[in-house]
């Protein structure tokens, strides 16, 4: 109980990490629902890996003295830029290929995942000086989140949250029935571009903060769990975010209480929630 109250205190030493986790838990599921509903879950695996490659590449450039930002800029800003550039290039290339119906989606995403994974490792191995820092970032060490980073995250994730909620109807109708959306006068391509842009940014920033598979966990598991227990799209969105936020809170508490790494603990909590819901549903069906 003492530790629980300590976490809630405004003077808590790791408060930035705690708040960052809550923001990820609240906002990621709102984007994740479109991964699940549009059946793009594999993209949710491939893109964080691409973002990873971008981070490793930016660090490599920084180490060998090649800068695409002024030299005095911190490595983190450079890594974020690398992450965003790689993610956006990948997502728009994949979206164009999808529209042109070139080959199979699964093959493209599988190839993207394996290529991004391999080049990430190569970039890190070519970079002996930055290895420790890059690896800690890729593992998702949520402990050290500077003030500036937290505020930036709040601004970006906050804007994304407002966009997703405000334009909810457009994203839903364009995703569900693009032909109907066109007859209603919606610019389907523009809404798709905006959604892809949001996905690219949320993953890039999220990977920098909590690591690739934690971000994937928060994108995927809350909507999958919510879909099992609710009826209707609005409750589905609300419950997804509620599950994400609750898992982030519980995960942080457990990791602090038992001195465990936060990212994996969050994913373990999310997975436990999903399994509990699955079991509950099975038992309820069996009883009926």
């Amino acid at each position: 109980m003492e530790q629980f109250l300590e976490i809630l205190s405004p003077h808590f030493l790791l408060r930035n990490a705690f708040y960052a986790g809550l923001i990820v838990g609240l906002v990621c599921p709102q984007v994740g629902i479109f991964f699940v509903l549009r059946r793009m879950v594999l993209l949710g695996i491939a893109l964080p890996q691409v973002s990873n490659a971008g981070i490793a590449f930016a660090f490599l450039l920084h180490t060998i003295g090649w800068h695409f930002l002024p030299h005095m800029e911190s490595e983190k800003t450079m890594a974020l830029t690398g992450s965003i550039i790689f993610s956006l290039i990948a997502i728009f290339t994949l979206a164009i290929l999808e529209r042109k119906r070139k080959g199979f989606t699964e093959n493209r995403l599988g190839f993207t995942y394996v290529l991004a994974g391999a080049v990430s490792i190569l970039f890190v191995s070519w970079n002996p000086y930055g290895q420790t820092e890059v690896l800690s970032m890729l593992k998702g060490e949520i402990v050290s989140v500077p003030d500036f980073y937290l505020w930036s995250m709040l601004a970006v994730y906050g804007t994304i949250f407002i966009c997703i909620v405000g334009f909810h109807r457009n994203f839903v109708v364009v995703s569900y029935d693009s032909d109907m959306a066109t007859t209603l006068g919606k610019k389907v391509v523009l809404w798709d571009i905006l959604l892809y842009l949001i996905i690219g940014i949320i993953i890039s920033l999220g990977v920098m903060t909590v690591g690739p598979w934690v971000i994937f966990g928060f994108l995927l598991i809350p909507p999958v769990a919510a879909r099992m227990v609710v009826r209707g799209i609005l409750p589905f969105c609300i419950v997804s975010s509620a599950i994400g936020t609750a898992a982030s809170f519980i995960g942080f508490y457990i990791s602090y209480r038992f001195d465990l790494p936060t990212g994996p603990t969050d994913v373990a909590v999310l997975s436990s929630l999903l399994i509990t819901i699955c079991l509950g549903k099975t038992i309820a069906r069996f009883k009926r």
Partner: protein
């Protein structure tokens, strides 16, 4: 009844990626008229529908839409193309019909809620408004999709194979519903089908896609044309 043309197709050619599927399409659709677009599977019926709906552009020719304000379409797609992973209730599916007039960031208005209720009532599905759309029968889903199209307050209702893949009783009820919408509301309707016996006997205008050509005729003429195809040829 208003006799102005709702849609006029003049020398239209349709297809995908510059590849012509059908050409020399010429026909008008008058306000309050009921037309059936009939032809075998893969003949280009849905492509023609999508061209009329402005989903894909015509390769050649002109489509003239009504007079004055832009034409509002109520589109009923083939329900099997709608993914069942979406956790929509029937009410939410119908509400989608109002999205064309709603501004972002505004909550659903009371007017829209009332409109949705009315549309559900019109198709006889008000009692099932809180049910999961994906768990409904084919006939029920079709009614909900018709209600969604009605919620757009359409000038023209376009239905793509509305009774394909549902049982005979549900087919009969859907046809009765469409007939009622046409006769009581004077709604302009265009319906796709690939089976002659799905065409209501009272329909006068049938647009028939026959051997890559679009011909207009009555039900009798279409049936006789179809029978000619059935006569075996000697080689």
């Amino acid at each position: 009844m208003n006799t102005d043309n709702c849609i006029t197709l003049e020398n239209v050619a349709i297809g995908y990626g510059g590849k012509v599927l059908l050409k020399d399409i010429n026909f008008p659709l008058k306000a309050g008229e009921f037309a059936v677009l009939f032809g075998p599977n893969g003949s280009g019926k849905t492509t023609l529908f999508k061209t009329i709906l402005r989903i894909i552009p015509p390769i050649h020719g002109t489509i003239i839409y009504g007079k004055g304000s832009p034409t509002r379409f109520g589109y009923v797609p083939q329900r099997q193309y709608l993914d069942e992973i979406y956790p929509f209730t029937a009410e939410e599916v119908v509400l989608m019909g109002t999205f064309g007039t709603r501004k972002p960031f505004c909550p659903t208005s009371k007017t829209d809620r009332l409109l949705v209720e009315q549309c559900l009532k019109d198709v006889g599905m008000l009692d099932l408004k809180k049910e999961f759309f994906s768990e409904m029968s084919g006939g029920q889903k079709q009614r909900i999709l018709i209600a969604r199209a009605l919620a757009t307050r359409p000038d023209i209702l376009l239905l793509d194979e509305p009774i394909t893949g549902i049982d005979i009783i549900a087919q009969k009820k859907i046809i009765e519903l469409i007939t009622e919408l046409h006769k009581k509301r004077q709604l302009t309707i265009m319906m796709i089908t690939h089976e002659v016996h799905h065409i209501p006997s009272w329909v006068k205008k049938i647009i028939h896609i026959h051997h890559y050509k679009v011909v207009l005729g009555s039900l009798e003429e279409i049936i006789s044309l179809s029978r000619i195809d059935e006569i075996p040829t000697q080689e």
